[in-house]
């Protein structure tokens, strides 16, 4: 694994905008960054990333059964009691799941370590599945990247297959919050793939969802049989329509059981069950008044994009990222610092579609905490 500087494609910004990738630059800072790329060999991809991704995924699935029959664990994950049956039934009824992303620390050698599971509302999907794929084809054509280069990225193929084969409601509605172009971009990409798989995909702003007689309804008042929501379960459970989740006959994507796995509390539970596993970092639920030792990270049960994460490095330096998620319980995770390439720390997001590893996207930041604004860089495989 190494980082290689590379010329940008001339005119890539206008191309990005022509395909709906409007958030390639965020607040004047680059988000998509093709001034460099990462290069892996095939063994690193297959043995160090692909196989552990699928194994960690199976370990996580194995925990769902444990949690739904254990009140103490449900409480540790702060799942409201009112929804315990909903979550358990979604698992027992095998409610289908589309995708997830595991965030990994990996520097090219040794076992990749799991930082967290983004199993409810993962994004950077378009950047991974489409835009870095096109980047590779373009750069091979321009001779900027070697002819035989490949990429660990079957994301779009696998999503299309999933949309075609999963027992999904049709039409299938897709919702994201009205004001986020990034979330809408992710949802538009999924709708696009769903359409290519023959699914009648329809967009509705999350705030426009309606309720009539206990059923979730669209703008015309028709019952919504299936809804992909790019909106966290833990928010929905607290909002005015929380009871509609229980009464509506809607098929949810991601399904209710995913709220157990997207929860940071799953990390200590994984550690309890698989203590010492080479791809896991030691993790515990935070105890009241627990001191914050060097070499540990503190994360809220519910947070995304690095928000409200704090750490103390082994040298005692304190690093923290502010955010709006300070109102939940916290976990502690042993610090495994991200590897540094040049001036940047990089993290690997490893995708799962169904139960298969489906590719990676790399995020870079100037700090040890990866966040919303962290840059996305493409990668290649070359043996």
């Amino acid at each position: 694994m190494k980082k290689i500087a590379c010329d940008e494609r001339p005119g890539w910004r206008s191309y990005a905008e022509s395909v709906g990738f409007e958030f390639h630059t965020f607040d004047g800072e680059p988000y998509w960054d093709e001034t460099g790329y990462y290069q892996f060999n095939l063994r690193q991809i297959e043995q160090d990333l692909e196989e552990p991704t699928e194994e960690l995924h199976q370990m996580a699935l194995g925990l769902v059964d444990d949690v739904i029959r254990d009140e103490e664990k449900l409480q540790q994950l702060a799942i409201p009691e009112k929804f315990w049956d909903f979550v358990a039934n979604s698992w027992r009824n095998k409610a289908p799941s589309l995708y997830g992303r595991l965030d990994l620390v990996y520097d090219g050698t040794g076992p990749a370590k799991l930082l967290e599971l983004n199993y409810d509302t993962p994004t950077s999907l378009f950047e991974t599945g489409f835009f870095q794929w096109v980047w590779l084809e373009d750069q091979i054509m321009r001779g900027k990247v070697p002819q035989g280069a490949d990429q660990f990225n079957s994301l779009q193929d696998q999503l299309e297959t999933a949309f075609a084969n999963l027992p999904l409601a049709n039409p299938l509605y897709f919702a994201s919050v009205a004001n986020s172009i990034e979330d809408k971009g992710t949802v538009m990409y999924l709708m696009d793939i769903a359409r290519q798989a023959g699914v009648d995909s329809r967009f509705i702003e999350l705030e426009q969802l309606g309720e009539a007689g206990g059923q979730l309804v669209d703008l015309e008042g028709y019952a919504i049989g299936g809804l992909f929501k790019l909106y966290p379960w833990e928010f929905m459970l607290q909002e005015d329509f929380a009871s509609v989740i229980l009464s509506s006959q809607t098929q949810w994507l991601e399904p209710g059981w995913k709220m157990l796995l997207s929860n940071k509390g799953i990390l200590p539970l994984l550690w309890q069950k698989y203590q010492g596993h080479p791809n896991l970092l030691e993790s515990h639920f935070e105890q009241p008044g627990q001191s914050f030792a060097a070499g540990w990270v503190r994360k809220p049960l519910f947070s995304r994009e690095g928000a409200n994460v704090e750490m103390v490095t082994s040298s005692g330096e304190k690093i923290s990222e502010p955010g709006p998620y300070a109102d939940s319980a916290f976990i502690r995770q042993k610090l495994q610092p991200l590897p540094k390439f040049g001036d940047s720390y990089s993290m690997i997001g490893s995708w799962v579609v169904g139960n298969s590893a489906a590719g990676i996207g790399i995020r870079e930041d100037n700090s040890l905490i990866t966040k919303d604004s962290s840059r996305f860089l493409p990668h290649i495989i070359l043996d």
């Binding site: 990429q151 409601a169 990034e182 290519q196 059923q215 028709y222 790019l230 909106y231 928010f235």
Partner: protein
Amino acid sequence: MKQKVLKRSKKAALVLMVPTATFLMAGCGQEEAVQTAAFETVDQCAAYYNPEQCKADLGQALAMHSQVAPKYTDKAACETDFGVGQCETPAQAAAAAGTEQVPQQAQASSGGFFMPMMMGFLAGQMLNRSGSQLKQPVQAQPLYKSRDDRSTFRTANNTPVAKGVGPAYVKPSSVQPKPAGVVNRGGFGAQAQKRSSSSATGFGG
């Protein structure tokens, strides 16, 4: 030489996100009718289909009845459309269906309203190709009969589906149940507003 297996997608194409792309709505204007059936009782249904599924379909139709049936504030107006003695309140419907629970709809509008009695049910489409229930394009639902045409079963939206008990051929989009009543909106999204520092913040991660 053996073909190298690539680790990347064979294609990454877009159809909706590209403004210049033109595409046809899948199936638009050429939707095919599928077979289902209309019944008054589980016994009639059991002559065609699995009795358990028949019971489930009748149950779903009864549950849906007071949600989708056309609503009238005035009993006479309801009877003008559906016939004298053919209208009821949600409370009466619930009692007739043998349930104690009055559907939420009725509680919400406590002023009381009238709706036609349920005269039969449309069976959901049974055992489709994939064997999967979720792909059923036709939902089990209640059926009604208008005052001036007592032989035809109609959906709550007045779509005629069958002349009497037995098989019926319907286009799935024409029999999609639509809850009739007050629609509430804005029940999701409050946490996003509360936790959003700027309007551009997303809630994926």
